[in-house]
Symmetry: C2
Subunit: 340 residues, 2 copies
């Protein structure tokens, strides 16, 4: 894990920089600066309330003080490398920094970066490259001593990673030895370990999750597994289903975004009523490992005002017949209660 | 597609050579011989009734007449290459034959075979290597003009590939322009095309199936998609779920093996009642594309006598509340009726 990093988010901070924002909000390491050439001179705190502040700078050369790593905090559609970022990556390597990337384009396969990294003795960490040696699940995740909670969703981008991190933080505050199990690039960058489950061979989807749970499950009292996608997503349901069966969770937290009515990017596919998700996740999990939705996490970022947000949370709780909250707006203490 | 092949099944024919048996039974090309060094002098027809006969021989040198290809028809646990097969693969390449393999170990990555294949101008076809350029599903498989039927299962190895091939053959006999959509190694070897969906990047599971349906769906009246695994399999449910949502099938055929009570290889995980699978598959599919289980295919190979098999089929039909048959023992005409 680095101590102090710069986060590259050119042209996309803060509205289209989900990974950068997650790092700023949840990583234990210090963010020295966010790189966005469109906003030099601004501050992180101008845009993201309640997170550690940092300057927004134009390029790597403007990052104040020493950093250990440059983290690529955005992803263009398709996950390619934007050539306009090359000077910053080059400068970081030449300054002796590791570079951490979740792009589909692997920096360690880039001839210039590989050569420079070798010259300067730094690591290029492509977190989206699954490690070798993954295999099929053995149906053993229920053997660990920790309680296992999985965040599941009604869709992509509804706040599963956020709910995972908020639940772990709140559990720790309540004195529970909790550990996040990251399955996606942002979670992996925040926690410094994990497997990008959406990039593994499909036959090993459940196995990749099981392996992480077996690795950590006897060292903690509570594991919170970061879910992906949705079990009725036209493209990503395979990943969701593999995580559900591989994790063998004791409890589920259903995540939803207030106002979301259709699958993001598949607008002619309406979301089923939230209560239907409860039945689907529970009935699909049951033959492998019985579990239930014990709480809901509603993302109310697009709801104006706490009163309206509270109403939305109440309606969501009624729909899923379980307690609910917005863990960012109202805190995650209720989630901790529900999963214990 | 080859015209005439030899099929390697050393030490495993016929009881542990699922791929070899599928090729002998369903491929349009001729099988000149099965290689099994434990049974030289025997005949395929001694073991597999109702299929085109061929001799069982000790090595590639004993194959009668010329063949186009050697097909690896067995897989050791783990999918490795058994070094005892090397002389036969070498002999085949030196005789100018292509070699077709579904092993996880890619023959085209083997230095000796790659060099020999180059020298002799033959192809090493690793059918388990997915092609490049796969991507996420767009939710468009329902746009094709063909009716799409998907075989789904209560478990692995219950007869989904067999039901697929029998249904396509029976549909053609009934005058329907039907096409199999192969998703696993045996189906791909039989049909000469297809994508090994269990080997693709998990995010592309549904997309790999959608792409095949878009490729073939306007050229035929009926597509029968070969399913994989089971939606409640501890290890493989991701693949099953991705196929279900990627294929957007109009109808499902539920496949089951008579007497199977627990997940194969996960004996402490009992199978749910067959009727529960109907609910699970239909409710999981519905939010993406509504479908229903219109028929069942019961594998009664382990049931002694047609009367007992007929009773087992009847009980299965009652359990799923749909017509059922054993397509191998009793023919697939009823399945054709059910899916039209």
């Amino acid at each position: 894990m680095p101590d102090r990093v710069a986060v590259l988010a050119h042209g996309k901070f803060p509205d289209r920089s989900k990974t950068a924002n997650g790092i700023v909000r949840y990583a234990d390491y210090e963010v020295a600066a966010v790189l966005d050439r469109d906003r030099p001179g601004e501050r992180v705190a101008d845009h993201l309330p309640g997170v550690p502040d940092a300057p927004v700078v134009e390029s790597f050369a403007d990052v104040p003080g020493d950093v250990d790593a440059l983290v690529i905090g955005i992803a263009p559609i398709g996950g390619g490398f934007d050539e306009s970022w090359r000077p910053d990556v080059r400068a970081a390597i030449e300054a002796g920094c590791d570079v951490v990337s979740g792009l589909h384009y692997f920096l360690s396969d880039d001839a210039e970066f590989a050569r420079l990294a070798d010259e300067h003795g730094v690591d290029l960490r492509d977190v989206r490259r699954p490690r070798d040696g993954l295999t099929v699940a053995r149906g053993r995740a229920d053997e660990v001593s920790a309680d296992v909670v999985l965040t599941v969703g009604t869709d992509c981008s509804v706040g599963k990673m956020t709910a995972t991190m908020e639940l772990v933080a709140a559990a720790r505050e309540a004195g529970v030895d909790a550990c996040a199990v990251p399955t996606g690039q942002t979670g992996i960058m925040v926690e410094g370990w994990g497997t990008p489950v959406d990039r593994v061979v499909s036959d090993f989807t459940a196995g990749a999750v099981e392996e992480m749970i077996l690795e950590k499950g006897d060292d903690h009292d509570l594991l919170v597994v970061e879910g992906q996608g949705s079990v009725v997503h036209p493209a990503y349901s395979a990943v969701t289903c593999g995580i559900l069966h591989g994790a063998m969770p004791d409890a589920l937290v259903l995540c939803h975004a207030a106002g979301r009515e259709a699958v993001h990017g598949y607008e002619d596919t309406p979301l089923p009523p939230v209560g239907e998700y409860v039945d689907l996740y529970e009935s699909l999990a049951a033959p492998v490992h019985g579990t239930e939705v014990v709480a809901g996490a509603l993302n109310t970022a697009d709801v104006a005002g706490d009163d309206a947000a509270r109403d939305a949370v109440g309606a969501f709780a009624d729909g899923i017949d379980a307690p609910a909250t917005d863990p960012v707006r109202f805190g995650a203490a209720d989630l901790v209660e529900a999963v214990r």
